[in-house]
Symmetry: C2
Subunit: 382 residues, 2 copies
């Protein structure tokens, strides 16, 4: 059986779904691996490196492949080149890709969405949302340190003391915790808030101060927060304002995949920040946690420079690709059975496995995650 | 007596020589302080903040002032507005400012160069080269982390381990040690080299590995390195090449004020670096430690992106100005005598004090640091 690695075609996507280090893991299981030319180029991986690892580099890699792996959803052209019964593995936001999902169904392709892998411990090693959030959380911390034209750390010098930067992080999931850890490493004073009660302990575990507001907590399932009422959101903004007003840097990371990000910070709140303040909004792709943010741009609000992240993991394509590829290979391995000859891999998803059913979008001519249904229940991933 | 604070006019200069927090230190000594409008603007300090601190904001601030303080050398216009016997304090690179120094002499102005303050312990709090190097060293570390599209820290995740970045720092003065400390804080593996034997201990004290080459060390005076022979320089480049070839990020900080920076890294050496490599050259303003670097630009050499720093402290104008201002105020305080009335400050440099004589460029119609002499002996600062 043959696995094809797509060259990504969506604008701004620099990652690749398989890296040479992991080609051997698939060939050892009995798969053939073919890679579209230049697939790794923007992640600084050459065709020669894939070939040396045992993959075939081939412009026709996708034609008739048994499985197609990619970071972004497969292109219409790629779908047209797959046979009925083939498998695709990629990110596939079901709320935004209705035409593609219909095409996958009609072509009788079995498609899996990495963001739908259930957040259970057995699937941790396949959790691409977490692995990519790790990258983007670190990146947000570094971007904030680079934009702030002042020190993150305390500096005691012969010419006096420079106080450390005050950093506020909103949202303490994987990305938020990484942003906190990065700012802490650099010596900033970090305060963080998350609507989930469990987050306070995690915030403290990475060395930051947990902001505690006199509000009910909002535990959702799958590690995500529940949605809040407008009234609670308004009260939360009010209570957070003094923290943000005092911050040199604000980093917001509250995003729920497939959903519009909650507006945690109003324009008014940003306007309370002082000269030189910086804001880094990781959620800009899904509307933003900060009112007025623009994905892929830096805008000025009051004194603050507001950076809106656009596909932030793609800003670190090397490590992001490596981690994503490992997630994909782990999912592929879960779905691999050994053939009768004993040396041939067979890609045979077990639809009694909750990971397989959880992540499956289309199979045998049926859509398993209706866009509308997922738009409502998308936070649970189950 | 009145001290005037210049609005900087040289392109790219964002710092200011006095900050509101320190106005009171001068007025308490009996000085009047006047500030040119918008002097602090690019350092995010408003005229209102100076006024609230007790300074007069005045377009004619420099006219007839007893002392003029600035970051860059005074402009010809400013010099023309000072009276004979007035004092100027600024950076004043004597090898590059011959026309200005002649004008200062002819106007019988007493001028001091901050970079000529002797590096003795009593003058530590006036050492603007060190304070600005602290800023630029930190900034170089942050710039390298931002340019490298990969993690500085080790990351152990459910999807595998991401190794830490390998960083090499050349030059371990104040800036180099700050760059090392910043990269270490972020979790990189850092190796560093300096031609001075004493540096190895300092490199280890900030957590990096000292690269030890089989070469004689070059202790100079004033904490700077002596110049090396062409033969030794070539051998050093040869011995450093394998370290640089393995580095993800290279940061070079070997600059001696007023001198052309030594070329520590040839184009050939940079070409040995791998895909995604980054080079940050703090010495680009004085020719660069890296062959082919351009100040104020990012150039591509081999696989590497090479960042050439231009007036790097000005990239963090807030803290750079605060530290510089403290250096200047400390020097002013050293030169202040109390008047007969007991409440009036008199700016009366004591020319028996080695700090005063060391830093003095022109006085009473005489140039004390001839450009030619300094070009030869500039490293000693005495």
């Amino acid at each position: 059986m043959r696995i094809a690695v797509a060259k990504e075609s969506r604008e701004g996507e620099t990652r690749v779904a398989l890296v040479p280090e992991l080609v051997g893991k698939l060939t050892a299981q009995g798969y053939d691996v073919s890679v579209e030319p230049d697939a790794g180029r923007s992640a600084l991986i050459t065709d020669e490196q894939y070939a040396a690892a045992g993959a075939r580099v081939d412009a026709g890699a996708v034609d008739g492949a048994d499985a197609l792996i990619s970071v972004q959803p497969p292109s219409a052209d790629h779908v047209a080149r797959l046979r009925a019964g083939a498998v695709t593995i990629s990110f596939l936001p079901v709320g935004q890709e209705q035409a593609l999902i219909t095409a996958l169904r009609d072509a009788r392709i079995t498609s899996f969405a990495m963001e739908l892998v259930p957040r259970i411990s057995r699937a941790q090693s396949m959790d691409a949302l977490s692995s990519q959030s790790l990258v983007s959380g670190y990146r947000c911390g570094i971007v904030a340190a680079g934009m702030l034209r002042s020190f993150f750390p305390l500096n005691m010098t012969a010419a006096g003391t420079v106080p450390p930067a005050q950093v506020v992080v909103l949202g303490a999931g994987v990305a938020g915790l990484q942003a906190i850890a990065t700012a802490k490493r650099l010596g900033a004073v970090v305060k963080a808030y998350d609507v989930r009660a469990a987050a306070a302990e995690e915030i403290r575990s990475v060395g930051a101060q947990a902001i505690e507001l006199d509000l009910e907590t909002l535990e959702g399932s799958g590690g995500y927060a529940r949605e809040m009422t407008d009234e609670r959101a308004a009260r939360q903004r009010e209570l957070l304002t003094p923290y943000i007003a005092k911050a040199d840097a604000l980093i917001t990371t509250a995003a729920v995949p497939g959903r519009t990000a909650p507006v945690l910070v109003s324009r008014h709140m940003v306007e309370q920040m002082g000269p030189g303040a910086v804001v880094v909004d990781l959620a800009a792709d899904s509307g933003g946690n900060v009112e007025g943010v623009q994905a892929g741009a830096v805008t000025r609000i009051g004194h603050a420079q507001v950076w809106g992240g656009r596909n932030v993991p793609a800003q670190m394509p090397g490590p992001a690709s490596r981690l994503y590829a490992q997630n994909v290979v782990n999912l592929l391995t879960l779905m691999t059975r050994t053939g009768e000859a004993g040396d041939q891999a067979i890609l045979a998803p077990d639809f009694d496995d909750e990971i397989v059913t959880g992540a499956c979008v289309t199979h045998a001519g049926v859509i398993h995650h209706e866009p509308t249904r997922t738009a409502i229940e998308g936070t649970t991933h189950e």
